[in-house]
C-alpha cells in the first residue's frame, strides 16, 4: 500500500511538469483493495482492470519502470508508448491488461477464466472494476455467463461512490446495494470494508478457494473513496459535486494510516522498519523516473497493428 501511495504521489508531483501527457486516474485512498486482493492471489493468477489501474498493476507485481515510462510515452513503457496510463499490461506477472471503456474488461476477464476452465488450468482471474461498471449491460451478461459455467473469476468491485462527478444517488437505486445485483445471477456476494487490507485479503482468499475448487465466481463490493480528482493530480472538493466534509470523513479512514497504527500496536512494524521501507521505495521510484526519462521516444507509428507485423 505504501508503495502504491508513494508512486501515485510521485506521479501527482511530476504531472504538472507536463512530461506525462496522458490522462491519469490516481488510486490514492483506494490502495487497500489492490494490495489485499493481490496478496490473496497466487502468482500465476490473472488480473484485469479499468481506467484507474495503477494500484492493481503495481499490486499484482507490474514493473514500475515500465509503468512510468509508459506514462511518459516512451519506448520502454509497458505498451511501448502506444497506451499510456489507461492501458497497463505486464503479462509476466499475470496482469493481462487495463482499458478505460467502463466495464469492457469484465467480459474479457471472464473469458480468461473461461479459457482456463476449458484448458483444465487451476488459475483464478480477478476482474477489478468500479461500481459504475455494474450499470453496464455487459457486466450482467458476463456475470450470467460466469455463473452459468461456474468460472474461476472474482469480481472485485471498488465502490468509491462517484462515477467521475456523478454520485450513486443519480445512478443506482438507494434501496439496493451494489453487491446484491450479483446475487441475482446466483453468485455469492458480499460487502466488505475496502479500506481494511486484511478484510480485503480474507474475503479474496475465500473467493479464491471457491473459484479454484470449482465453486465458481464470487462478487465482492469494497466500500472505499477516491481522494484526488477523477482524472489528474489535484484535489476537486471545491468544484461542487462533493463536500470537503465527506472527503475529511473518509480521510480519517485512510487505509495506510489505519493499518500503520494497527501494525505498530501489534508490534509488527517498528519505526526503523518503516523508515527502511519508505527509503527503499523512494529510491525505487527515483530510479524508475530516471529510467523513464532516459528511455527513447517510440518509433514505428504503424507497428503492432497486427500480430504478424513488427
Amino acid at each position: 500500500m505504501l508503495r502504491i501511495r508513494l508512486v501515485e504521489e510521485a506521479i501527482a508531483e511530476a504531472y504538472p511538469r507536463q512530461e506525462m501527457r496522458c490522462p491519469v486516474h490516481l488510486s490514492i485512498g483506494q490502495e487497500a483493495v489492490a494490495a489485499g486482493t493481490a496478496a490473496a492471489l497466487s502468482r500465476g493468477d490473472l488480473a484485469m482492470s479499468g481506467h484507474r489501474s495503477h494500484a492493481h498493476y503495481l499490486a499484482k507485481g507490474g514493473d514500475l519502470r515500465a509503468m512510468l515510462a509508459e506514462l511518459m510515452g516512451r519506448q520502454d513503457g509497458c505498451c511501448h508508448g502506444r497506451g499510456g496510463s489507461m492501458h497497463l499490461i505486464d503479462q509476466s506477472v499475470g496482469f493481462i491488461g487495463a482499458v478505460p471503456i467502463v466495464g469492457s474488461t469484465i467480459p474479457i476477464a471472464v473469458g480468461l477464466a473461461f479459457a482456463d476452465k476449458l484448458r483444465g488450468q487451476t488459475k483464478v482471474t480477478a476482474a477489478f472494476f468500479g461500481e459504475a461498471a455494474t450499470e453496464e449491460g455487459v457486466f450482467h451478461e458476463s456475470a450470467n455467463f460466469a455463473s452459468l459455467h461456474r468460472l474461476p473469476v472474482i469480481f472485485v468491485c471498488e465502490n468509491n461512490l462517484y462515477s467521475v462527478y456523478s454520485p450513486m444517488s443519480v445512478r443506482q437505486p438507494s434501496h439496493r446495494e451494489v453487491f446484491q445485483q450479483a446475487q441475482g445471477h446466483g453468485i455469492p456476494a458480499e460487502q466488505v470494508d475496502g479500506n481494511d487490507p486484511e478484510a480485503v485479503f480474507l474475503s479474496v482468499k475465500k473467493a479464491r478457494s471457491r473459484a479454484a475448487s470449482g465453486g465458481g465466481p464470487t462478487f465482492i463490493e469494497y466500500k472505499t473513496y477516491r481522494w484526488r480528482e477523477h482524472c489528474g493530480p489535484g484535489f476537486d472538493n471545491h468544484i461542487g459535486y462533493r463536500e470537503e466534509a465527506e472527503f475529511l470523513e473518509w480521510k480519517k479512514k485512510d487505509p495506510l494510516e489505519t493499518y500503520r497504527r494497527k501494525l505498530f500496536a501489534e508490534g509488527r512494524l517498528t519505526e526503523p522498519g518503516e523508515h527502511d521501507l519508505s527509503t527503499r521505495i523512494t529510491a525505487e521510484i527515483v530510479d524508475a523516473l530516471a529510467f523513464a526519462r532516459q528511455s527513447p521516444e517510440p518509433r514505428g507509428l504503424t507497428h503492432f497493428v497486427y500480430a504478424d507485423q513488427p
Binding site: 469492457s104 473469458g111 451478461e141 504478424d308
Partner: protein
Amino acid sequence: MSELTYAEAIQDGFREAMRKDRSVILIGLGIPDPKGFFGTTSGLEGEFGKDRVMDMPCSENGMTGVVLGASLNGIRPVLNHQRLDFALLAMDQMCTQAAKWSYMFGGQAHAPVVFRMILGRGWGQGPQHSQALHSWFAHIPGLKVVMPSCPQDAKGLMISAIEDPNPVVYIDHRWLHHVRGSVPAGHHQTEIGPLRVAQPGKDVTIVAISYMVLEALEAAERLAAQGIEAEVLDLRCLRPLDREGLLRSVRKTGRLVAVDQAWACAGMSAEILACIAEDPKTPLKHPARRITLPDCPTPTAPSLAAEFYPRANHIVGAVLEMFGRGREPGELALQKGVEYDKPNPAFTGPF
C-alpha cells in the same frame, strides 16, 4: 476435390481447423441447433463435444468480450452470429477492444479470434436482419475482413481466419449457402489479402463483393453476347485490400464498375473508386460507376425488396452506357414469374 455447397464448405473448414488444433472452439447462439446453423455446423457437436461446439446466452456484447479474453489465454474461438445485425451490439468489444489489443499494448498480446456473421437477404429479412455493414469493419485498423463468394474460398478463408493471429471478421451471405462448387479436401487455405479474378476480360472491370459476384458473372455472360469482355473481380478480402490487384485490372480495361450489396455513402464501393482515383497511372476512359443499394433501409415487403436489390440487369445497363450503347426499353423492369425474395427456386422459407 469434392463437390460441396458453400454451407458444407464452411462446415468442412470448421472440421479441418478443429481436428488440427484442439484449442479451436465454436460458440454462438444456436450453434448446435437442429438445423446446424444453416447447415454450417451440422455434426460438429457429435465429433468435438459440447465444450468445443457451444451454445451461449443471448449476450452478444458480453460474449464477444468473453471470447476475446479466451483468445488472449490459449483458445481460438469462432463467435458466430446468425445475422450481422446482432454483432452490432458488440461494436465496443470488436472495434474498440479486440481490434486495438495488439497495438495499444505494444504488440505483446494478440487476439486470434474470428467474429463470424451472416448477411441476410430476402424473405422479409427487412430493416434489421439484412444490414450489409461490412464497410464498418473494413474501416478499422487491427481487424481483417473477409467475405467469400464461392465454396472453395468459404472453406479456405475460414481456415485462414481461424489460424490468423489477429481478429478476423468473416461474413458469409445467406444467399450463397446453397451454391455448389468444387472444394479441395483436407487442410485447404485461401490467403487473406489477394482478390480473385473470377473471370478474366479486357474491356471493363467489374469489382463485386460476396453474393454480388454471382450477379456480376451473370452480367459478364450477357455482356459477352454483346461483344464486351468484362473482367470480374471477387473482392473476397476487404481488409487488407488488394489495391494492386484492382489497379492491375483497371489499368488494362480503363473502365470500372463497383458492385456492392450495401449503401454507397462511405461504403466499400467508395473505397474501390478512391483507390483508382488516387492512382496517377490508372486513367479511366469513362467515369466509374457504382451499383449499390438505394439510400433507404431494407424494406420487408417482397414487392419493395424486389426493387431494392441490384441485379445483373443493373450491371449490364451501367456497362452498356459506358460503351455509349442505349439500354433496351424496360431492361430494368422485373421479370414476371420470378420470386425475388428467395435465393433459389427450391427455397420455401423461412430463413
